[in-house]
Symmetry: C2
Subunit: 191 residues, 2 copies
């Protein structure tokens, strides 16, 4: 369970507790249901949108400034918000965490993380302008190549796997779209 | 606001009402916050996973058996659940709504719908076995080509746009990955 999204204990519509678990008629999954007002709570996976910004073979990483993992490195990425497209979310997160305005180019990874109920939607992007300092979520932003990237200090395993693939592919000059999870998946070079 | 996901009125952790709106320190978005226990409610867009199953140029559509849109047609697709990858969600939804076991092949559409806070992740898939009847969500399943598809009876506009593109591309024999929204986006033919 993601600590940002703990399971409900009270009904968000009427305030009643305790809630009960049931599989509603016609449904296939256990849901939390309010026995007082019959409200059903649907809790679904969340999308993390982000980008790989490549400048001549070096990519921008953020050193985390807020828990968890303060001081460790990751791609600029974060939870998608209401009212935006995935591309808009990725560009917004990049601006917040790096201060860079980017152009989102092409999907790079549809990476499911079932243990944390998250989906990383990572895009390739190009730098338009480095406008401001990064916000409080980042201590600093640095550009890294495969040889000087702090591989042991990457915070999220999914991000480490995405970066490993990116630099491996860089040697071939050919990038596809990965879809899968940590354990299995495919790179799709659509022709 | 999606009727399945109404805004909370009571705190799901302590039951208090009313909630207040605030931008938490270090955050950039308005959140619902409980003034009694300080719990913050994060409400994020939801992923709908589904598939285009193509058998010799004809694709499987479901006639909706539950509201909204009873009697209208759509691709087999539905809300992703916790503990599964996007591919697993797409295959599960196909089984529930068509009775077909499929192999999920390649991503086809990353389609954001900001007005309803949904993201359609649609894959191309191939039929493995038609195992059972569809569940209660579908009145029936039929195979359609571009010429006999009930274009005026497709329920979700995003699905209509995805199907239009699919059959347009079919004439060229070349499928890419679309990423975007109803208004703008790009088809990525990655080489």
């Amino acid at each position: 369970m993601n600590p940002r999204h703990p399971a409900a204990r009270h009904c968000p519509q009427c305030g009643h507790a305790p809630l009960e678990q049931c599989v509603p008629p016609g449904d296939t999954h256990l849901r939390l249901r309010c026995p007082a007002c019959a409200h059903l709570i649907y809790d679904n996976p969340r999308v993390i949108a982000g980008a790989i910004i490549d400048e001549g073979g070096r990519i921008a990483l953020c050193q985390r400034g807020i828990p968890p993992g303060v001081g460790r490195w990751t791609l600029p990425a974060g939870f998608m918000e209401h009212g935006e497209s995935v591309e808009e979310a990725a560009a917004r997160e990049v601006m917040e965490e790096t201060g860079m305005r980017v152009e989102i180019r092409s999907p790079y990874s549809i990476f499911s993380v079932p243990p944390t109920n998250e989906i990383y939607l990572i895009y390739r992007a190009t730098l338009v302008a480095h406008e401001t300092e990064p916000g409080p979520e980042s201590l600093q932003v640095q550009w890294f190549g495969a040889n000087d990237l702090p591989w042991q200090e990457i915070f999220y395993p999914a991000i480490g796997q995405i970066l490993t693939r990116y630099f491996d592919e860089g040697l071939t000059g050919r990038h596809g779209v990965y879809s899968g999870s940590m354990e299995s998946g495919h790179i799709h070079f659509i022709s």
